[in-house]
Symmetry: C2
Subunit: 443 residues, 2 copies
């Protein structure tokens, strides 16, 4: 802070600030100022006298932290939440999800499902989400309208769906969406080839070439189950990760989602390539897909982000519960209670997501000059008493319902748990209409 | 329903009722009446005309279900929530928890910690909890005052603590507490020998004899880690379960808590004896203790109940999140997504707990004549839309914050999320005072 007066749109006085960078730090008695879309100051409350703020917010008993980053999901699928449970991955997809999608997915479905997902995510502290679904232009527009930050990964498949008829069309339409949103400060559009088993080597190579040329991220489902890996080895004589690497698809702009089946050679390859892993523990558990060895990945310096996957396989988009699940699963699966400590889990759900998306210089921590994507969490409820360490409460005791305020790029998208950009009653009504139509067509 | 008019204290019209018995059923358009401490009617709304009710409650968008039963915990330890994280079981106990307890546990600590725990539990849908802690008389009185149902398991150790000096004194004081509460309709007092490694064979045999004579339940930590079992085998030449069985401690009144290390011979023994298992998935994961093989237990017909363990090792007392964790962990640990379906997880957190406590004829499901321990859960939030099946939403999408009302023995202990028997501000203030004192003495 210089001695000069600073103008701020909003000056917030919480009890604590968890900036995430540096990791593990809890600032007691600090304040945060937002000017425009940026964090303009982070300083001891006693030093805020020189700040002239339009709005001053006192948040006793609350903690400020960076908005959470949901690094993998399919927002439109929220309309299929609970449509089919307790099934393994492939029957769940082939007998329930894909037929329902085939019958119903449309621009309206994606708009309504995405808005529902955004409403849920904001209420549980997410301010940035990654999305892979049909009609990515609609998802992008819905997020933009809601004031929500997102990485839209446009899908690429070999086969036709409601959105495109072949890989070339997915790519050309996707790049057109990227072009449409190139000036958006909220929406980034990147490549989302679905998986090695749904996109041919030839088409994956095209994606690799274009992504390298344009310097754009690639987001792909990979090694979700041991069965997927086994089948690929039988068909192609190599593991999917090796195939993708050979095709030039594995590098520092690649986000590999799921990764439950990983041997030491896979981990060495990922580390060498500087690729990112997106861990989706609850979806992997619910579908009995397996467990991503996050402790081993972290030991090798691989960046691991956190995602909920869709509400159809989770069945919520709540990153607080996902952080808890990630920490607990890492401990029990490695039989080491010291693994994935609270601060590691919080990093996964914030700065690591920003790193995977290539925007960690702008996002993922509370630092002066970074984008003002900030949430406030109320730790005053009995379920969070007493507070020895706010970081521990955030990861091990919060359930997301304690998020009180949320700002994206400095704009308040939730105030005292009221959404400012979404009409929840309308969202609920449209969701009910979709349920009725989808239930009528249930096979 | 006869044609005669029925007087009810409360008549509730939700959208759905999940009675738990029969398992998997969702009643659409049914109503529930409470008269005194009992459920006096459960019938289609169209047939409620003959019921004269003092209070009629319309709960659109909500589901009624039995209050949840938390079958294992240490309520007083809520004051140590987040005091020490990311440690394995024995260092966590020996370096942090036991020293803090040694310095601070007193009647006031137990009263304040138990009230904090009850406030948290009611807000997340629990209406009955099992407790094992020092000063069980204080815990019992605190629950009675709060109108909360509980099974108080008085502790037995070989060594002195703040409450008693040796096993005989623990037992005699415990039985005196049992006598004090013998007319209570809310509080049941049973034996709580801590664990095979803290109570000698001689004292365990005493407990077995007395429990058989008095026909009282026994609640014991057992096979929490593989290390515990290995150490016992090295010291005694047999597995702890075998030792307890030889001492007459394993039978249909026995609640075996944790049970992560179980071979086929252990499972056969439990099944043959008709003993109950209390599964604490989140605590077992957080302390990296292991995974209780609940699917195998259920296949052998063993009754499995659900517990949170204490807020010091969880770090919440939220059975909604615990149900979710139990279901997801069962699926991934058996690599079978069909295991522990939503209705199984809900049974674990309700009727199975009542079975373990020997009171399933009175509790654990919504049936006419049973005790009116009932909760209402609001499914109208965006995180629960759309509702294909309320049962799926309860287990896979709720986080506990949606519980709107709670009745214990017909008395409303929470209405529209406001606790009626506990002053939350006072609880918070006392919790903060304890934190300050405990932090001052931190080693």
């Amino acid at each position: 802070m210089s001695d000069q007066a600073l103008h701020a749109d909003t000056l917030i006085h919480p009890d604590w600030i968890v900036p995430v960078v540096p990791q593990g730090v809890v600032l007691d008695g600090y304040s945060l100022a937002i000017t425009g879309d940026r964090i303009s100051a982070l300083l001891p409350r006693a030093q805020t006298g020189a700040i002239e703020a339009d709005t001053v917010l006192e948040l006793p008993g609350q903690v400020l932290l960076p908005g959470l980053i949901n690094s993998h999901g399919h927002a439109g699928m929220s309309l299929l939440r609970g449509y089919a449970d307790d099934k393994p991955l492939m029957p769940w997809l082939e007998e329930f999800i894909w037929p329902a999608e085939g019958a119903h997915v449309s621009e309206a479905f994606v708009a309504d499902g995405t808005e529902l997902a955004i409403a849920e995510m904001i209420r549980a502290g997410t301010t940035t989400f990654s999305d892979m679904y049909f009609f990515p232009d609609i998802a992008a527009r819905t997020a933009q309208t809601a004031g929500m930050r997102c990485q839209i990964t446009f899908p690429v498949f070999d086969f036709p769906t409601a959105w495109a008829k072949n890989a070339d069309e997915y790519i050309s339409k996707g790049l057109a969406v990227r072009d449409d949103f190139k000036h958006s400060t909220l929406v980034r559009v990147v490549f989302g080839p679905h998986a090695p088993y749904t996109v041919s080597a030839e088409n994956l190579a095209k994606v690799a070439t274009l992504a390298a040329e344009l310097d754009v991220e690639i987001h792909i489902h990979l090694h979700e189950t041991a069965g997927e890996v086994l089948q690929a080895v039988e068909q192609n004589g190599e593991r999917p990760l090796d195939s993708l690497h050979r095709l030039g698809l594995i590098g520092p702009r690649t986000q590999c989602v799921h990764m439950t089946d990983l041997g030491d050679q896979d981990i060495a390859l990922l580390a060498g390539a500087g690729a990112h892993v997106v861990h989706c523990p609850q979806s992997n558990m619910k579908l009995a897909s397996g467990v991503c060895p996050v402790s081993k990945l972290m030991d090798k310096g691989i960046n691991v982000a956190l995602g909920t996957d869709s509400a159809a396989s989770n069945n919520n988009l709540n990153l607080f519960i996902e952080m808890q699940a990630a920490a607990l699963l890492a401990k029990v699966s490695s039989m080491d209670a010291t693994r994935l400590a609270a601060s590691d889990a919080l990093a996964m759900a914030t700065i690591n997501g920003a790193r995977a998306m290539g925007i960690a210089d702008q996002l993922g921590s509370l630092e002066t000059g970074k984008l003002a994507d900030v949430i406030a969490v109320d730790l005053s409820g009995p379920e969070l008493q007493p507070v020895y360490n706010p970081l521990s409460q955030l990861v091990y005791a919060c359930n997301g319902s304690q998020v009180s305020h949320s700002w994206v790029a400095g704009r308040a998208v939730m105030q005292n748990r009221e959404l400012t950009t979404i009409d929840i009653d309308a969202v609920r009504e449209r969701s009910e209409n979709w349920r009725n139509r989808i239930e009528e067509g249930r096979p």
